[in-house]
Amino acid sequence: MNRWYTLRTETLIGLGGVVLAWQIASYFFPPYLFPPVPAIAQKFLAIFVDPESLANSGATAARIFAGLTVSFLLGVVLAFLMGRSERSYRYVYPLLNFVQGIPALSWVVIAIIWFKGTEPRILFIMVATTVAAFSFQILDAYRSMSKDLFEMTLSFRPSRRDLIRTLILPTVVPGMLTAWKVNLGNAARVVVVAELVGATGGIGYQLLLQQQLFDMAGALAWTLVLVVFVLIVQQVIARIESWLLAYRPTAERSA
């Protein structure tokens, strides 16, 4: 039995077990606590046929992408600044460490006080909560660059641009992809919190509506939309990763 098949079977058994347990619970508890699985599925599927619901999902996805893109670009700049200059590292690293220690909810409060519109607030929260992780992960990848390869490339006297293109970028790409995978999950959690307090649309806002309507099936359906979105994007990143890192040897026996 190959590894992929085993993994898929186990995943299905695990998820199927939870669904089954939920359905059994729905027979013993009222629907506002444990709604039946078909009711959740119906609400979940309804989201994909209703244009307004799709627009809400799209708004959340767009906020996640926008926040992560800005955060990633900022993270790249900060990581390279820290990687290339010891003095910059001494200034920036403790600052990012401090920023990373601030809870997402504190950023939400700060954003509400500082910014007027919904979108700037959410963008600010997204960037503030993910920029440190991006910077640290890209810095780690940059610092793990092989000294041997660096000297070898340098022996051909490349321009700075060529050095970045031929050596530094290929070295940090795996770290960047890992950073995207990790931060995607974080961003999905944070965006919902941000939308809960300030937005008039998006999955977080929809969750707030379901809470006010006391609709557990709706809340779960919207939660599932977010989870499915994250899983799909992670799969896309994994595909890009396996395409970009196809050169890596694979061991026949796993550790």
Partner: protein, 264 residues
């Protein structure tokens, strides 16, 4: 050719009273001497082997020559220029073959050979043709699209040789490139290297800790003692190899004993 009587203007490589001190990382105020008033010259087209025991400063001399580090005192001139201060001037004039192959794992064999040409700004067609020619010449036809992990140690080192020769440098610097290979592969590569250097009229500095390798790859042998300084200079061409071997061995042993006593 001795350090005193050669004409510096004609020398491809000229080390003049070079000193290199490194600060100890843990004790900033202390330094250790890696190269001690090192002087030697290499004529254009000459093949010189630099021999010495581990830790004698061969690699430091190598990095000075490659322009990767700056001398503390003295002057290093290669083709009349300073390899550290005029770093960019040496583009395509000097190529390095390192102890390990240093191939980029994300590039195929041919892409690795193309690296130097790519950095020189050569067009895709031209660099592919040059790289293919060198891979074929070094017996790697059919392995162009293999990634380094799919190649044996000998094949990888051949790719790194091809990468160095592909830019058509005037000077080749080799830092024990065949030391990690088995005897047969190493011997074959040494023969190929000698042939390529002679055919193409390159100046070659070959750093090694093996007397046999030095005898095979050097028209002249420079024996280093610790810290790097010339302990013996022996001309191989026309000389009796056993006599040279005995002299080299004696120089290495005597100098090592002196170095060990000094250390104590």
């Amino acid at each position: 050719m001795s350090g005193q009587d050669a004409n510096p203007a004609a020398a491809a490589i000229d080390f003049r009273d070079v000193v290199k001190r490194f600060l100890r990382q843990d004790r900033r105020e202390e330094s250790f001497l890696a190269v001690d008033r090192l002087s030697f010259e290499v004529a254009p087209g000459e093949m010189v082997a630099v021999l010495g025991r581990t830790g004698c400063g061969k690699s430091t001399m190598f990095n000075l020559l490659a322009g990767l580090i700056e001398p503390t005192e003295g002057a290093v001139r290669v083709l009349g220029h300073d390899p550290f201060r005029e770093f960019d001037w040496f583009r395509a004039k000097m190529a390095v073959v390192f102890q390990n192959d240093r191939l980029m794992p994300w590039r195929t064999a041919i892409e690795n050979v193309e690296l130097g040409l790519e950095l020189l700004g050569k067009g895709e067609k031209e660099r592919r043709a040059i790289a293919l020619g060198w891979l074929e010449r070094l017996g790697l036809k059919g392995h162009e699209d293999d990634y380094p992990h799919a190649l044996s140690g000998g094949m990888r080192q051949r790719v790194s040789l091809a990468r160095a020769f592909a830019v058509n440098p005037e000077i080749l610097l080799c830092d024990e490139p065949f030391s990690a290979l088995d005897e047969l592969t190493g011997q074959r590569l040494r023969e190929e290297y000698t042939q390529l250097v002679r055919e193409n009229g390159k100046t070659s500095i070959f750093v090694t800790h093996s007397i046999n390798e030095a005898l095979q790859l050097g028209e002249r042998i420079l024996v280093f003692h610790r810290p790097a300084r010339i302990a013996l200079e022996a001309r191989v061409a026309g000389g009796d190899r056993d006599t040279i071997r005995r002299r080299v061995l004696a120089a290495m042993e005597v100098r090592e004993a002196v170095a060990e006593q000094t250390d104590r």
